[in-house]
């Protein structure tokens, strides 16, 4: 099975994955990337005004998938 690595981005902070996962094919890796992105969102979005996060997938040769989630909170009344 191919070995995929999942690097995470939180605004400009980049964390490289040096362990990776063995998965049957790229669609399985895409699912893990989406789940990981959602988990990261759950952790960093509450309280944030603007945030851009992403999970990028590599195999042992090259980049195979880039995901990104942009969040923006706009208050319609000025916060007290």
């Amino acid at each position: 099975m191919p070995h995929y690595f999942f690097d995470t981005r939180d605004d400009e902070e980049f964390i490289s994955d040096d362990v990776g996962l063995e998965l049957p094919e790229i669609q399985a890796a895409a699912k893990v990337a989406a789940q990981s992105l959602a988990e990261l969102a759950l952790e960093v979005l509450p309280g944030a005004a603007e945030r851009c996060i992403g999970v990028d997938v590599r195999d042992e040769q090259r980049e195979v998938l880039t995901t990104e989630l942009t969040y923006k909170a706009v208050f319609h009344y000025p916060p007290a």
């Binding site: 999942f6 995470t8 994955d17 362990v19 893990v32 789940q35 988990e39 759950l42 952790e43």
Partner: protein, 252 residues
Amino acid sequence: MHPVTHDLQPFLARLTNRSRLNEAEQKAILGLPTHFLHVDIHRDFVPLDTVVDHVSVVAEGFVARFGQNAEGERQITALHIAGDAPDLHTVVVPSDTVPLQALSRAAILRVPHTALRAVAARYPALAEAFWRHSSVDAAITARWVVNVGRRDAKTRLSHLLCEMAVRHNVQDGDGEVTFPFPLTQFHLGDATGLTPVHVNRSLKALAAQGFVTLSGRMARIPNWQKLVERGEFEAGYLQAGLQPGERLRIVD
């Protein structure tokens, strides 16, 4: 694995760390019949939906109790180490199924339900000790539900690592603590309901901030109290590290 002789001493130690047992009761535990089993890493030595007529006592290694969804994705519902009897309650609820997987190479001692019922009938204090053992497992499960349902990833992992440290009887103090911890980020994901990716990211952050590092199948906690606070951990539910006078004998 080295050819080591395994007996029920670790199980007896687990019982007597919480419950006061006299010499005859302790001998009765050590005299229980056992069937010895070496289990390879990742093997389900009690498969899903299996009804058993024996209890599996962990003599060596790491074992997971688990459940899974229709797609086969697993959730680890408990971790067990040497001395634990993960399915002890099947002695009195024989229809329950408790799937068990080895997370490392493991040594298991199977003890027949009939033999455990016989010693419990003869020695009420043993029935009490078994009851207490199962109750601690239930208390651990309750803490895990809170952990998985209501804590962020780093707190969740910190809590789990604190729990496993205490269950390994590490010295509780301000100093550095190390204990065997062979689980991969994949296992940790299954135990905490996180993707391995998020586990990896969170562990890196915890290591960078000096809370805990996992390497070489060991966990190293540089400052025990610091991780306890990070993991919102209170050890009382584990009934571990009790002084002899605090160990219980209530029924008789």
